[in-house]
Amino acid sequence: MKDISFHILDIVQNSLHAGADRIGIEMAENTNEGTLKLTITDNGSGMDQKRLDQVTDPFFTSSTTKRVGLGLPLLKQNAEQTGGAFEVKSELNKGTIVTAFFNSRNIDMIPEGDLAATMRTLISSEPQKDLVFRHQKDDGDYELDTAAIRAELGDIDLSRREVLDFICEFIRSNERVFHEQSFEKKIY
């Protein structure tokens, strides 16, 4: 995976496959410490301890069409190659929490990528599910909650192009603010 946005798209597929209808995606960055924590939480079917021990094995998968399962192993690798860490917690019938810690100053750190495009893909195919995306960087943060947007829009389908454009622009404008802030920091 080239960047974090692809990892998010990939890991959320696991949650959807597990029947989750509320999925939280959180990115928390601290530029002074050089850390980034990515957490994906779902209320899907969860896993028992036996399966939990197998999830980071690339040759373990629940799929029947192929014999490898690389989603979690690749995220683990990308986190650990920055000197970070990786953790999966799960409880049967409750849900799963996947956490990846990155040292963002490490030379092997992957970029954040196009977060808006990832959210666009997820919402356009699963407009009825609750997705909460929260991005925090130092003392700034923003949150996108599709349940709140759905409540506001009433019977309008979230997968309509105008709505997707609106959501993408919301994410992009907030990312621009982050970008400008970190740029100022570097100058002064």
């Binding site: 995976m1 799929s63 495009a117 666009r120 893909t121 309008i156």
Partner: protein, 131 residues
């Protein structure tokens, strides 16, 4: 906290969309619409299926094609990702491989709108259990 700061914009959007004609009354009769399934597993994502999917969703709406676009798991054609499956109303499913944005455009224009087969089909012995 910067929570959906532009709620007013969201209301404007709602008004705008409500006044427009409703294009998508999906889910009620999916068999009458074009169905597109974009494979979205690890292999597919790494090969660029996100861009393919966003492009197809956008373009089908822009070109006024009534369609249901969903994502699906890995179909086992990891070598040919991104792959999509297209089901035209009343027809057998067709799987296309190596579908980048350019290929997707060709599939929409020639196959979905014109009904003509295009290159890049992955042959599958696919039969539903009820036939």
């Amino acid at each position: 906290m910067n929570k959906i700061k532009n709620l007013a914009d969201l209301r404007d959007l709602k008004e705008k969309l409500q006044s427009g004609t409703k294009l998508r009354e999906k889910s009620e009769y999916p068999e009458l619409l074009v169905q597109v399934k974009v494979a979205m597993a690890t292999c597919c994502i790494a090969s660029g299926s996100r861009e393919t999917m966003n492009y197809i969703v956008d373009e089908l709406e822009k070109r006024n094609v009534g369609a249901v676009i969903t994502q699906t798991g890995c179909m086992g054609y990891c070598y040919a990702e991104p792959t999509i499956e297209v089901i035209l109303p009343g027809k057998e499913p067709v799987v296309f491989g190596y579908v980048d944005v350019k290929k997707a455009d060709e599939i929409i224009e020639k196959y979905i709108k014109g009904g003509a087969l295009v290159e890049g089909i992955i042959p599958v012995n696919y039969k539903k259990i009820d036939n």
